[in-house]
């Protein structure tokens, strides 16, 4: 590259709008959920093996680290679900403007906070 003109396409130096954060979190939560599937399948497998294994799963799930892990999985799922619903709503042509996109992003965050709080209550 001999071209010396200033170029700023370095995303790290650009201040991102809220819609960008909501989008990248949807991506991150989706990738994280792929890993979570292994944990969930493991729990399902043991919970259906025998009454003893079922009790072991229940005991395991009542430990603090497992509760935190389950809460994290639920949080990732709830976020991904809500941002996914936003996608479906926008696919139907609703909220496709700049303003609409921002409103949608804020709604996703607000409902996520509510959902994750409820999930916390449920886990504990």
């Amino acid at each position: 590259m001999t071209d010396k003109r200033p170029v700023n396409l370095d995303i790290g130096t650009i201040k991102l709008p809220i819609t960008a954060y909501v989008s990248i979190l949807h991506r991150a939560s989706g990738v994280a959920l792929i890993g979570a599937i292994a944990i969930l399948l493991g729990l399902l497998s043991y919970s259906l093996k025998s009454a003893e294994d079922f009790a072991a799963v229940q005991a395991c799930l009542s430990s603090v680290p497992m509760k935190l892990l389950m809460w994290a999985v639920l949080a990732a799922f709830i976020y991904h679900l809500l941002a996914g619903i936003k996608h479906l709503v926008m696919d139907m042509g609703i909220g496709e403007t700049l303003e609409g996109g921002k409103t949608g992003a804020v709604l996703v965050l607000v409902f996520t906070v509510i959902g994750v709080a409820l999930a916390g209550v449920w886990v504990w």
């Binding site: 991506r27 989706g30 990738v31 959920l33 792929i34 599937i37 292994a38 399948l41 399902l44 497998s45 919970s47 259906l48 025998s50 009454a51 079922f54 009790a55 799922f77 679900l81 996914g84 619903i85 996608h87 479906l88 696919d91 449920w122």
Partner: protein, 122 residues
Amino acid sequence: MVKTVTSFGRSGLSDWLIQRVSGVVIAAYFFFIVGWLVTHESLDYSTWQTLHHMTCMKIFNTVTLLSVVAHAWIGIWAVLTDYITVRLLGPKATALRLVFEISVIGVLVIYALWGLAIVWGV
């Protein structure tokens, strides 16, 4: 229209649609299972086992499992084709992306087979 050999439906439009339909299936399963668990406090093994022994539940489990696998593949494919590119990583990127893609396919095939064994082994 995007057509590539490694995308799920080999067409961007069909991938787009499968991503939406599978998302809705997984969402429906989530609401069902959370609703069921919330209404069955102090759950015991036989109630849980009876639920998963029903044929309709086995079908629901299977459809959801396959939806997760398809959804995860389409999703991770989009992520890998965005970041592991020749533009970002240089000429080795295509080979590297294939390695990642094959690894993910391996994991997802294990999920599918393991999940089917659990669901139909009840």
